[in-house]
Symmetry: C2
Subunit: 372 residues, 2 copies
């Protein structure tokens, strides 16, 4: 009898959440799409405010950390609550801080970001903006592939998006190598970034050509070496790809943008498209983690043969989340250097700072430009 | 300058953990394979004890919940620590309880289990036991496939393991439909269960035939209906499968074991193999969530044509995590009924209770029996 009880508890464990009630006693708003099954929180309230709850009966102080801190208020049952201001549509990392312990929200899905398993809040897009929403269109697949990295001497994995129709076709496809940011990993683009949803929608509308997207782990001793020695050969020997520069693009966000820059400038013969999202080489010589020390060497490399770079790269596309983006200054300095050297590029700016809403928008726009 | 500082913090966020020091001041043991990058905890100490740490400077009481509760002890810096007793090899769910808030450990990867994002501790297997460890053998792939369920009227997804060589072959493969337990979802078998690693190893050793494994979402209004209307047709029209009962097996753990039983007994014409791990029909009429109400109908169905069931099912394989398994009693009652009816089955018992170490072992053994 006791064993059955435990089993029932397992099945109903998440049912016990209390919920935000509106004036009529009915819960206000809608449950977040990232809330775990059966949880009624977080909720999205009118005006894109979000309501959070957590049970912490013995806690003295509980806060929500969503870039800015919100103090939560305790009720008589030990449930803490808060409601945010209006939030920007798209994905935002967040944490709960329970008596000084910064943790993921047990009511919500977790995502690897900020170097830990963080919570993610998905704020609805404007009515009619279906670019980043799962739609009734043909779906591609996301494939998890394990490999051994001789560069890191470690077993790693990559995720590979194949477009709708790939399995039943004999066509060859171009490939975009797409890098996550610092504190993230190979999961970032398909989970936080919704790469497959964005691409399924673009391809269904004829706005992007069907392509393969490779999302590998950029936490490497030498990203460029690993890309060339491990990732590209694995992809090109296991998938039907266009194996030449005309069929290869490389892009990344933040730290991944620096990876993409480094790989493309040292090996321009491999790529015809380069995307740099919310990034830019370090504008000072003292870059963290040893990154950026070779920056002057990269500018010299471009200077030696600017015409070749301008012919080779059909797209050098740089995006930025506005002045509030933490990489804004580095990016402006880099573009000034590109201008001085005569390297051609396109620049796109959208509000949102150094966040996933900006990076989804960047992929949405970059993917439409390449391989055409 | 402030922006660069934030960027550096993002990159180094997880570096600040303190660590368990041995007598010589050097950290004892090894970092858990599920610890997030750069974290030095949890650690596995000699004798398969595990050491945990969490920073919660303002907390009054912090505990580790690993099936049993361990009180953690605070140091002067607000870091709480504990060391467990010797643990069974394999995967175990756990939580931290910070002043009454039951949360995942920020130092470790999270897994969807117990209805929430739970932490998972991987305790090393015995020296020489490589059955469940990533090895230098050819790797298959795990594919994420989205689909619309007309049964649930919801967008869902499944994960599909394809064996090494699938991409470059024209062969057709048998398919095992493999179900997670209650409080888990379609991710359970590939993440907590290590399905791809277990199968890659078995296939490399010639112990199992190459097969496709479909891990779908069992949280359905009607699992059998969804399997037949959505999952099987999607798989059979998109993958090279042996599309007949001789090429289909169904198995599951706990709640998923009941799903597998229900589907196989109501549609024996579809399957030639049935696996039931740590499960059994409810032994009483009052099953939770409406499950099990049809149990007597299922026994009647078998009784009507026991010879047909015995011919149709080449394997009915039932496993149990010993007497401490919460499903032990239900399983014994069911097997007694099978005995009375003359339905043939094999039974396997291994210590470990209602846990993933038992279910990995069950898959390892069941996969070797089927499609031969």
């Amino acid at each position: 009898m006791k064993k059955t009880l435990i089993f029932i508890m397992l099945l109903t464990l998440a049912l016990g959440n209390t919920i935000v009630a509106g004036d009529a006693g009915k819960p206000e708003g809608q449950v977040s799409v990232n809330a775990v099954r059966r949880s009624q929180v977080p909720r999205i309230l009118p005006g894109n405010r979000a309501a959070f709850e957590v049970k912490a009966p013995e806690a003295k102080k509980v806060q929500l950390d969503l870039g800015r801190l919100y103090d939560m208020t305790r009720d008589d049952n030990g449930v803490w609550r808060c409601v945010t201001d209006s939030l920007m549509p798209g994905f935002h990392y967040y944490f709960l801080v329970v008596d000084g312990a910064r943790v993921a929200d047990p009511a919500s899905e977790s995502f690897f970001g900020c170097g830990v398993m963080a919570s993610g809040l998905e704020v609805p897009y404007a009515e009619g903006d279906k670019r980043f929403e799962l739609a009734d269109v043909p779906h591609g697949e996301v494939v998890q592939r394990r490999y051994h990295s001789s560069v890191d001497n470690a077993d790693k994995r990559m995720f590979i998006y194949t477009p709708p129709g790939y399995n039943s076709s004999t066509d060859r496809y171009p490939v975009l190598y797409l890098q996550h940011g610092g504190g993230e990993d190979e999961r970032g683009w398909s989970q936080q970034g919704r790469t497959d949803i964005i691409m399924d929608n673009l391809i269904a509308q004829g706005k992007a050509v069907p392509m393969i997207i490779v999302m590998s782990d950029g936490n490497s001793r030498d990203f460029t070496e690993e890309l060339i020695k491990e990732c590209i050969p694995l992809v090109e020997s296991n998938y039907r790809v266009i194996a030449g520069p005309e069929g290869r693009a490389i892009a990344g966000l933040s730290m991944g943008g620096i990876h993409a820059l480094n790989a493309a400038i040292t090996h321009p013969e491999l790529f015809s498209n380069l995307g740099v999202f919310s990034s830019g080489w370090w504008a000072t010589s003292a870059a963290p983690g040893g990154m950026g020390n070779d920056t002057e060497k990269y500018y010299d490399r471009i200077k030696k043969d600017t015409d070749y770079f301008n012919r080779q790269f059909r797209n050098v596309w740089i995006s930025m989340g506005g002045k509030e983006d933490i990489a804004y200054n580095n990016c402006q300095v880099m573009m000034k250097r590109f201008d001085d050297l005569g390297l051609k590029y396109e620049y796109f700016e959208t509000p949102g700072g150094h966040t996933w809403p900006v990076w989804r928008e960047s992929l949405y726009r970059f993917a439409q430009r390449i391989f055409k």
